[in-house]
Symmetry: C2
């Protein structure tokens, strides 16, 4: 794990610091998306709020993580499993939010559909967020 973490950071040309190691570890251990606040808590109050913001921004820039917009207006973050690099994300999956347990997950195996738009509109990106009841809660 520790090896993998350092490997990812170096490949992204990020210097290896405590906060980056710890936060990347959280992502690797978690199977669901995390809000900024979750990360702050889980990091164990060891790091300043500002450092968490900057670390997440760095991870986003490097394509290590991606954001998930939620209906309640709280951005969540999850690891990019596809080969996203330097801000060019190739994620093509939908996201699921459970209304019972509140968990947000990447459904990597479910691809976003192609949406046919009216004449004149050009699609660049499609975000699909499905809410309902997850596997565990049903």
């Amino acid at each position: 794990m520790e090896e993998q973490i350092i490997d990812v950071l170096k490949k992204s040309q990020l210097s290896v610091t405590d906060s980056r190691r710890k936060i990347l570890e959280l992502f690797l251990q978690s199977d669901s998306a995390m809000a900024h606040h979750d990360i702050e808590i889980k990091a164990g109050e060891k790091f300043d709020r500002v450092t968490v913001y900057r670390t997440l921004q760095a991870f986003l820039d490097k394509g290590i993580i991606h954001t998930i917009p939620t209906p309640d207006n709280s951005v969540k973050y999850a690891l990019c499993k596809d080969n996203c690099e330097q801000g060019h994300h190739h994620d093509d999956h939908i996201h699921f939010i459970c209304k019972i347990c509140g968990i947000t997950t990447c459904l990597d195996e479910v691809h976003v559909p192609e949406i046919k738009l009216p004449r004149g509109y050009k699609t660049q990106q499609t975000e699909v967020v499905v809410s309902g009841i997850c596997k565990e809660c049903s």
Copy 2:
């Protein structure tokens, strides 16, 4: 217009006040979705911030408007054109955000597709937000 506004408010069992009239008028005049801040500005500094929040919340509760989640985490609001009542929204359309002019619109004529989820997941609601270039900008 004034008639229509009072009609909508009364049908929703909302008392007719200046702020509700003004804000509902803004929605009826606008053909794109508005952020809270837009509404605050357009209402002409006549109303307190808190009043705008409470008015929007009342409109949401009554099914007069609906929210649109955006990737940059700024909720926008738009009129419900379908017959949504008392929080039971029947909107079934997708939303479009132009990356050039920044406008967010309801594409009422484009319905959300059915997404087939893995075994165990139950869908309650599907949000689709497409980003790209709008009719005007292309």
